[in-house]
Subunit: 538 residues, 2 copies
């Protein structure tokens, strides 16, 4: 898979995937003799998405891959030269040609971490020119990944631990890579699988899928399969013409359901037979191409019972229109009576999958007590995050040449927190999260059991907190361009995300009107903010 | 650029970028002996986005590129084998290995066409198995491209023809390719430029950009540039220390503006000087890092006047926070009085660029009569389309083996229009659009000047229409895998989009509560729909 990895790296990680102003600024820094000044940027968001009180951080792996491959090719430099003034000093382009991330150091939360406003997701330090150039691609790689992971985590909280969630939004994504990102990070956030085959191949996401209406409607019933025979599951004994057997079973099913045997659509049944011949051990039916009750369900049962006679167990049905909760209930009832009537007990427990524009609200209904739904397919909602389609991450300069930097602007919310920082998570004796604390990197870390005076963000007064445990939040991942610890696998990050969420207080997990989680500044950091604000910044 | 093109093709056009159910269905078709049945699918949307009455079609070029490169590699087939049952007939995988789009024919609207609900954007015909596999990638390539193009067209309608619109949303996009798609198709829809350098390199989108707050805040004012000297614009005469000259000008500017000369931030001025040294012929200032009125504007004017003394003309300023309309007015006023005071007349006409979460509503305000804003930068809003982040395109089977197919479902809105179709646009004598008409492909086309009886979609009665002109809508682009006419360039499609929009009636162009544009069915098509619905489909 090396070639595949290379291709993916090349495709995703192009240094020109950046805003032109990063390049014009690069020229400005270079002309000012500051290209190699030591600088540090922080990547963070200002408000939790979707009106909630948490986010999940994701995208670190993509950032690391991008940084390690970062290198301007000749064609890139030539294009930049064409976009800059013709009298630009050629030595600048020589500088660009030699550029890489060998001077760049990255600290970050582990992927799948709970993240809160203002706490750095990434701290990127290195030569000013290159860390400035990284702004746009890093924002692009982190923002959407974290948004989707957070959206998926919310949907998982709504669904509860039992229901399976399948992401199927590739067709609604912002192009190919949007789809790949969505599939990867909805899995990280708590989904069970994706329909996206490429996400399976490249990222190891479990992939699932069955059949679409077009498969069903493509059959009229007059088709003759080249080989209609199916051998028994155990492999012994004579094969059976599955279409003929399904026809016999249809008569019995219709009698049981008090339906005319002409009612179920013959093309739909032919489609089910074709699918069952291809997947005798994984037969599933999509029930709503014509009518669930009068066609889809009896046809499905006829084929499932014909298979059962050969020793195969069907696995489930899918509903894709109408009132999904109510239909799932009706389908379960029919499965139960049919299972009892024909003495095929496992039939009553078949998996019922539903889909059709399921969002948070619809999912809450499908997940309610007594729901017969087992699997929910979610596409548009998790992939496009219509409640808030952007996390709005920013990447801000916090120090240069060892001196803190701060942006004031016309808008207080857009002010930044100056200085190179450390971040800690304070926990209570029961392991519950109390507060995140930001402090200057030179301050000693908070100590378990010691009272700490901090300034909650936005508060006018300090408060005290005594943590039972203290966890440092930011880990060193890339030092001077070198990976310094293995990145966790996607599945490991997924497990870590669920663990992190379980430690968050219930009131912070509420999806609407939650209690906000406290992020506080150390007294020294607060004093620095105050002094720089008063001075109009350094 | 051949290698670049290959890379892009490889990166975007991977056949496994599809839903797993396309592959399970492929096996189902294959097992049923139907892999090569002649099938036709239509790709269309059901409702215009954003509550409007039109959409722009985009993405055809990406679809054609995808189809022409479509080929499963060994690693792809091996991955599919791992995702399908272990006892799957190996001959199926041989079939996949040999698969390409040499049997696929595509008719489509030209890119940039006005598109309406139910009218096919793409008609894809060919062997059932392969055209089924294409569903997900084609939806992914068309849906978002058309959504962004439509969003951009709406923003262009709001802005009017004069204001320049710059897309700058890469950092908010769904990953790298989402950003590239957004930049490309917002340009097609009517934007003037993008900040995305890669979109310039790969797609020829004009790229623009200036500087960010981090550039400004990275300077404290104590930096010493290695070469502070700038030669006059005409190239003759001695150079000048620009920083020193700006300092002299600052005193004059502050006296004129009645500000203390200590008030403007020295770091900000150093940043402007550095930028001016790099871009003496394209100097721009970002004014709101500290305070527009007390710092950004006087610093900018000092540097611009120092440049002017050397014969260079600054090009503009940017505002990125606060009340943009009001600030633009104040900035223009200061530019005017300063231009008059120092007798530098061109200074009053400097370009004012604004940005900061501009959406349709904010743009309407910025575009109002008397606004002093010249350029609007729009990011999140055009890239994520928060009003409606997905166009919701579908890809439906309309015929197989020459027989029409129709999906009924539990939800009337999800019913499809059966049969292989032609589509025409009927125009009045003044060139205004009257109606789109869908009919069966075998019917004779509508004739100019002849009365036509049609069924408007959703109506219970037919109506008559007499077009002065008739335009066929769907063109043949790919026949049996071969491109049969050159694709228009992006700039040509952009011009075509603006032309198309100008022919649409004003009431259909309203962005809120517009009059819906009529899409009608021929009597024969309506009769086919009725008969298939009555029969419960074929």
């Amino acid at each position: 898979m090396a070639a595949e990895g290379d291709l993916e790296a090349l495709a995703a990680a192009r240094p020109l995937l950046t805003d032109l102003y990063q390049v014009t600024m690069a020229l400005g820094y270079w002309r000012a003799g500051r290209a190699r000044d030591a600088a540090e940027f922080e990547l963070f968001f200002r408000r939790c998405p979707f009106g909630g009180a948490f986010a999940l951080f994701a995208g670190l792996r993509d950032c690391v891959r991008f940084l390690r491959a970062f290198r301007l090719r000749d064609a890139d430099v030539r294009f930049l030269a064409s976009a800059l003034p013709p009298d630009t000093d050629p030595a600048f382009f020589e500088h660009l040609r030699a550029l890489d991330c060998s001077g760049v150091t990255v600290r970050a939360l582990p992927e799948g971490s709970l993240a809160f406003p203002g706490v750095p997701l990434l701290q990127v330090s290195g030569p000013l020119l290159v860390v400035q150039l990284l702004e746009t691609p890093l924002l692009c790689l982190v923002g959407y990944a974290s948004l989707v992971a957070t959206s998926a985590a919310r949907l998982r909280l709504i669904a509860g631990p039992e229901k399976r969630l399948m992401e199927m939004g590739l067709r609604r994504a912002q192009g190919p890579d949007g789809g790949l990102t969505a599939s990867t990070y909805s899995y990280l956030g708590g989904f069970d699988s994706s329909s996206n085959v490429l996400a399976g191949q490249l990222r190891g996401v479990p992939v699932t899928g069955t059949l679409a209406h077009s498969f069903v409607t493509s059959f009229s019933g007059s088709e003759v399969p080249p080989d209609p025979m199916l051998a028994p599951a155990a492999g012994e004994g004579p094969g059976v013409d599955l279409a003929a057997s399904a026809k016999v079973w249809l008569a019995r099913v219709c009698a049981h359901l008090e339906l005319g045997v002409q009612e179920p659509h013959p093309g739909e049944r032919a489609a089910f037979v074709a699918y069952a011949l291809a997947f005798p051990r994984a037969f599933q039916g999509l029930l709503d191409s014509y009518s669930v009750r009068r066609s889809g369900l009896p046809n499905f049962l006829a084929v499932a019972l014909a298979l059962a006679e050969l020793g195969y167990r069907a696995v489930g049905v899918r509903l894709d229109s109408g009132d999904l909760l109510q239909q799932a209930r009706e389908v379960r009832e029919v499965l139960q009576t049919t299972a009892a009537h024909f003495q095929v007990p496992w039939l009553e427990r078949l998996c019922i999958t539903v889909s059709n524009n399921v969002d948070e609200e619809a999912l809450a209904r499908l997940a309610q007590e007594g729901s017969e739904v087992n699997v929910v397919g979610i596409g548009t909602s998790v992939v496009t995050c219509p409640q808030q389609p952007s996390l709005g991450c920013v990447y801000k300069l916090v120090s240069v040449g060892g001196q803190p930097r701060m942006k004031l602007t016309e808008d207080p919310e857009k002010q930044t927190l100056p200085g190179s920082k450390a971040a800690f998570r304070l926990l209570g004796a029961d392991g519950a999260l109390l507060s995140d604390v930001l402090q200057l990197v030179e301050e000693p870390p908070p100590q378990a059991g010691q009272e700490l005076r901090v300034w909650p963000r936005g508060a006018r007064e300090p408060c005290t907190v005594t943590p039972a445990q203290v966890e440092p939040l930011l880990q060193l991942w890339v030092q001077k361009g070198q990976l310094c610890q293995p990145l966790p696998s996607l599945a490991e990050s997924r497990a870590f995300a669920q663990l992190s969420l379980s430690r968050l207080g219930l009131a912070h997990r509420w999806l609407h009107g939650p209690e906000l989680y406290q992020v506080a500044l150390s007294e020294k950091l607060q004093a620095l903010v105050d002094s720089l604000s008063a001075r109009g910044s350094p």
